[in-house]
């Protein structure tokens, strides 16, 4: 039996044996998980929910969010998302779904909608990175004046749509909600619909 000694530099050997070389690693934050996580964390502050989510694994929460988004997307086919109510179906949103990948969305409920700082009927008139400006036709809650500029959280591009499911197009009229200067999408800000606008007026008591 030949006796051998390790005669190289142990640190160089260790460097060559980095397991990461064999694993898939994102090189920047453009990767979907990075963006979804950023949005989830930063939106936790702006949501100001009274009942915090259970300490379920965040990855699971993202997955569940995606699943619920898919469910909402399915419900949205045909123009409306209808939330089941024991007495009668209620119109909850117009065309909230841009894709089935709304990873960061929480389950829609009207209590959350009504709890937001601002709600309005407005036309998107400008996009500057993550900032979006609306010409406001009617305030349902909060705010004043004819225009408002809000932060969409991410630059409004294809990735934003993939994450938020809400295509934001200049010239499009929306029923929008926001808190702390951030626009809420995920089925909360929706494309304008007159029936839905009436429902919002009733909901917000405006």
């Amino acid at each position: 039996m030949t006796r051998k000694r390790f005669d190289g530099d142990p640190l160089e050997a260790l460097r060559r044996s980095d397991p990461l070389d064999r694993l898939e690693v994102p090189t920047d934050t453009s990767e979907a998980h990075a963006r979804a996580l950023f949005q989830e964390i930063t939106q936790m502050e702006t949501m100001k929910t009274e009942t915090p989510a259970p300490r379920r694994r965040m990855g699971m929460r993202i997955a569940f969010g995606m699943a619920s988004a898919v469910a909402v997307a399915a419900a949205a086919i045909g123009g409306y998302a209808l939330l089941a109510d024991e007495a009668e179906p209620r119109i909850a949103g117009g065309e909230p779904i841009g894709s089935g990948a709304m990873q960061m969305c929480i389950q829609f409920d009207e209590a959350t909608l009504v709890a937001q700082d601002m709600a309005f009927d407005g036309t998107l008139v400008g996009i500057d990175g993550s900032f979006v400006s609306f010409e406001v036709h009617r305030w349902y809650k909060g705010g004043e004046g004819d225009t408002v500029t809000l932060d969409a959280g991410y630059p409004v591009d294809d990735v934003f749509v993939a994450l938020e499911g809400a295509p934001l197009d200049e010239g499009q009229r929306y029923l929008a909600v926001a808190s702390d200067g951030f626009l809420w999408s995920c089925g909360y800000t929706v494309t304008y619909d007159s029936d839905l606008a009436d429902h919002w007026a009733e909901l917000f008591g405006a």
């Binding site: 039996m1 030949t2 006796r3 051998k4 000694r5 390790f6 142990p10 640190l11 050997a13 260790l14 460097r15 060559r16 044996s17 980095d18 397991p19 990461l20 064999r22 694993l23 898939e24 690693v25 994102p26 090189t27 920047d28 934050t29 998980h33 990075a34 996580l37 950023f38 964390i41 930063t42 936790m44 502050e45 702006t46 694994r57 965040m58 990855g59 932060d151 959280g153 702390d180 200067g181 951030f182």
Partner: protein, 192 residues
């Protein structure tokens, strides 16, 4: 700037700067040590959640990222208390490409690494894999930079000794390790 300081937008912007700079490195750190990609990303999530909650306490550069490594280290420690590093890595690698049987150095190094004391292993991997300097490692581990230098020196010697031992052990063995000492497959046992 914590939840009580600055506007929400300023807070998000500050977090964004930290996040963009640290995300790839924290992911890499977690992937090297977690049992699965899902677990690694979960640890990343917990880490950044903590950073967000403690944004006021995030130190300025150059200590920012090492401080976050320290957070990730504690998150992973809680996640895998008592779990075996090698088992985690084996599982993780099994999800992707396993090391080639011919890649003996890889197996030797990891076998040697597994025999080191956890603090030796940690300081070596922080230095070599995560590419942290002594000052940064000191922030991660909460020790003095001078102590890092001493520990690194000792850990390096112990690694070299373990590599020797691994090599000798493999030379004696009639059943070469294929991947992390798992049982050899058909036809992989050396003939008498």
């Amino acid at each position: 700037m914590g939840s009580g300081g600055g506007s929400p937008r300023e807070r998000v912007e500050r977090f964004r700067l930290v996040y963009d700079a640290a995300y790839p490195r924290i992911v890499a750190y977690a992937l090297r040590r977690a049992r699965s990609r899902e677990d690694a990303l979960d640890a990343v999530s917990e880490t950044f959640m903590t950073v967000w909650r403690r944004l006021d306490q995030v130190p300025p550069e150059p200590a920012t990222i090492p401080w976050m490594f320290g957070v990730a280290r504690r998150v992973l420690a809680n996640q895998y208390r008592g779990a075996d590093r090698r088992q985690r890595l084996e599982t993780r690698l099994a999800e992707t490409a396993s090391p080639s049987p011919a890649d003996s150095e890889y197996a030797q190094v990891h076998a040697a690494l597994d025999r080191l004391r956890p603090d030796d292993r940690e300081i070596l991997t922080l230095s070599v894999w995560d590419d942290l300097d002594n000052d940064e490692i000191a922030v991660v581990l909460g020790i003095r930079p001078s102590a890092v230098a001493v520990r690194l020196h000792r850990a390096r010697k112990r690694l070299a000794a373990e590599l020797d031992r691994t090599l000798k052990s493999q030379t004696r063995s009639r059943t070469p390790e294929v991947v992390y000492g798992t049982q050899p497959g058909p036809g992989e046992v050396e003939p008498e």
